[in-house]
Subunit: 141 residues, 2 copies
């Protein structure tokens, strides 16, 4: 998670301009754990930035991903989700209520190095998704 100043610096370092929209989107993402879609980000920010368009959300998250400030999740739904936590972690999705939660994980370096040897790939990233039923939904049968 970056402060607004750190994000601004990172944007400038990458030749991107610092705009209120980009700051607002990153700020919103860094304050939630719900891994929102572009639509959700758009709706959350609409009261604060009534003029902001959905296209700007898409363009902004693309930039934020490119400078490694956020990551994009594809949990198999019809839309992507965005996550300001770029530290190594897994995600677990409840197939009943649809929530996507973070799961801390141990260092994957040994596994990745082992796979690099086995596959001869240079590995630059990974995504790990688990699927199941969350405790809340289990209680409701």
């Amino acid at each position: 998670m970056l402060s607004a100043i750190e994000l601004a610096t990172k944007l400038r370092e990458n030749g991107c301009k610092v705009t209120p929209q980009r700051l607002a989107i990153y700020d919103m993402l860094s304050k939630t754990t719900e891994h929102p879609t572009a639509e959700t980000i758009y709706n959350k920010l609409k009261p604060l930035y009534p003029a902001m368009s959905l296209a700007t959300v898409y363009k902004s998250v693309e930039v934020l991903e490119k400078i490694d400030a956020i990551q994009v999740l594809n949990t198999g739904e019809d839309s992507f989700r965005y996550d300001a936590n770029v530290a190594q972690h897994f995600h677990i999705k409840c197939m009943h209520c649809g929530r996507v939660m973070d799961v801390p994980c141990q260092d994957l370096k040994p596994l990745v190095e082992n796979l690099e040897k086995k596959t001869q790939f240079t590995i630059t990233g990974q995504q790990v998704y688990f699927y199941g039923i969350c405790p809340d939904c289990q209680k409701q049968h």
Copy 2:
């Protein structure tokens, strides 16, 4: 991987009819390691089944997934990929040429059980994707 007879049995057991299209799609998937998209499946089968429509491919893979004959991959592209190998394994994608390859993995049961304890989820499945550059693309710089 199932034989045509085993697949037919599994379809009937699940109240689904056995059609040439479903058999052909499963057969094609079980003979490739390239994890094709619906479009690719459609184009591969077009010479054999000129009347087959893309919509039928989509409807068929949905059925095949529902009866657990195949799995659906979301590697973060614009379209889904399909895999007749439903045994536990990882996928690794080359960000340069786009190929998606299988990676065998050790039994995940200990990890999954550990996560179930930690998250209180009932875990029913998982998807693990690695991203990087494949040996062939590394050679071409």
